[in-house]
């Protein structure tokens, strides 16, 4: 910190900060890494950086610690994975064969449910009408309910179109289940977008779906990238 007499105010601020920082001195990064390790090991669900910061002593840098931890576990039997804005430890998928005992029998999803899920994931936020248009068939209440109950989808913002329909988006639980860091990591997303298959292309006859809607739909992905 260079002493600059021409800026006395800023200087005063610096000195005011100094004692506070030393009072709550953050532990060394190696120790922070241990803390992140303990917390992530201790949780079955992903833990956000904010929650990590809340649990760790003042002044810690959970992001740096978790990234260092992730590198440490590369190639090991368990991995440090990112799930949306959160982090978790998961067993390496190639060792799944050892874990039959832990396998939870998941309910087999119907073809309709899988398709609906895929449509929501790749088109989110996505209205029921859009799902129906893509599938060419009405979506049964039960299918949506099942996906909501599984916490794989949830309600998103209402679409600002007549009727203000609700939209659906996928959840962090979905990302966690399928080992995705973000919705942008959905398999084949780039290719589908490049092929124009994720565009909300209106039916020529109807022609009454506004351009804005189409734009709004891609917002989610574009904001993130």
């Amino acid at each position: 910190m260079s002493q600059d007499i021409t800026e006395p105010v800023e200087n005063a601020q610096n000195t005011a900060d100094a004692p506070r920082e030393s009072l709550f001195e953050a532990p060394p990064l190696a120790e922070q890494e241990r803390m992140v390790e303990a917390v992530l090991f201790g949780s079955a669900d992903p833990i956000s950086l904010a929650e990590l910061a809340g649990r760790m002593p003042h002044g810690c840098d959970p992001k740096a610690a978790v990234e260092q931890l992730q590198r440490r576990y590369e190639g090991r039997g368990v991995r440090v994975v990112r799930v949306g804005e959160a982090w978790a430890i998961r067993t390496a998928p190639d060792l799944g064969f050892l874990m039959q005992k832990e396998t939870v029998e998941t309910r087999k999803l119907s073809r309709a449910a899988i398709e609906t899920l895929a449509i929501i994931a790749y088109h989110q936020p996505c209205t029921r009408a859009e799902i129906e248009e893509i599938r060419g068939v009405s979506v049964s209440r039960g299918t949506i309910d099942q996906l909501i109950e599984m916490e794989w989808i949830r309600f998103g913002r209402r679409r600002m179109t007549p009727g203000r329909p609700v939209t659906y988006t996928v959840t962090p639980v979905f990302l966690d289940h399928f080992g995705l860091e973000t919705a942008r990591d959905l398999p084949g997303l780039k290719e589908l977008r490049a092929a124009g298959l994720l565009e909300n292309r209106p039916m020529p006859v109807m022609g009454d779906i506004s351009e804005e809607d189409a734009d709004e739909q891609d917002d989610l992905f574009e904001d993130e990238s």
Binding site: F41, G42, S43, A44, D45, A88, I89, R90, T91, A92, P93, G96, M99, E102, T103, V104, T106, L109, R111, A112, I114, E115, L117, A118, I119, A121, Y122, I134, R135, G136, V137, S138, D176, H177, F178, G179, L180, L186, P187, G188, L192, A195, L197, R201, M203, P204, V205, G207
Partner: protein, 265 residues
């Protein structure tokens, strides 16, 4: 659906196999997820890339399918029939030369949109399959088996620390040591007891008698008991003297205390 790969064409001369395949398709109509799904299945029978599929031929196939269903008296859901009507319209648009006066979209536009819809549905179906083929939680990769977090579960979890345990044990094992000091009532004669006893005896004491002779029987043998009984009896005698019932005398310091009843009243 097993028939999807079957060569499926409504030409004039159907082989027996083809006919069976066609009928299987119709009987399985419940297995289709709507007319678009059926169209997708039919388009596969053209054995070409979806992008180059002939929409005209597809419309033809679909209409033939609906025709066949009618023949077999299979009731088709309304949306299948709506699609059939729309495809019949599309077919006419594609076959007839465009009407310059018509404002609406051309047959090619409509066909292109249908092709887009089919391709999109197919893409979503593949995406769904790819998603399901991914490593899944609790199937291919696993979470912590014993989370430290006492989960925000509804049922109450009871817990105790090692310290609780050890202290609990220590508490029991040292219970006797902890017992507060309480007088052993067995070797204690209270003043009330002594008073009670003396009241009964005093009327017989016409002459001076040693106070020690008023101790309960046997109590003089045990030093503890004797001390307690002596003190209680002495206190009781003071009480009786105060009440004017008896007289007290003592020859000299530490000499035996004697009492007698006061009968002069």
């Amino acid at each position: 659906m097993s028939q999807t790969d079957a060569q499926f064409e409504f030409s004039e001369a159907l082989s027996v196999e083809e006919r069976l395949a066609a009928e299987a398709l119709i009987v399985d109509v419940d297995g289709f997820e709507g007319p678009l799904d059926l169209l997708l299945t039919l388009s596969r029978t053209q054995k070409v890339d979806l992008r180059t599929v002939s929409i005209l031929q597809l419309a033809h196939q679909y209409l033939a399918f609906v025709e066949k269903a009618k023949e077999l008296r299979i009731e088709l859901a309304a949306d299948y029939l709506v699609m059939a009507a729309w495809l019949a319209f599309l077919k006419s648009r594609l076959l007839l030369p465009p009407d310059p006066a018509d404002e609406g979209p051309s047959g090619e536009d409509l066909a292109a949109h249908l092709a887009f819809q089919l391709e999109r549905l197919s893409a979503m179906r593949d995406a769904g399959a790819k998603l399901m083929a991914r490593d899944q939680k609790n199937r291919d990769f696993f979470v912590r088996g014993v989370p430290e977090t006492m989960e925000r579960v509804r049922n109450v979890t009871y817990t105790a620390s090692l310290l609780d345990l050890m202290q609990g044990y220590a508490r029991i094992r040292t219970k006797d040591e902890f017992r507060p000091f309480v007088l052993d009532r067995k070797s204690i004669l209270s003043m009330e007891q002594a008073l009670e006893r003396m009241r009964g005896l005093i009327s017989f004491a016409g002459d001076w008698t040693d106070l020690s002779s008023y101790l309960p029987e046997g109590w003089e043998l045990d030093p503890k008991k004797r001390r307690s009984a002596t003190a209680a009896t002495f206190a009781a005698s003071l009480e009786l003297a105060k009440a004017g019932k008896i007289e007290l005398r003592q020859g000299e310091t530490f000499a035996p205390i004697q009492i007698r009843s006061r009968t002069d009243r």
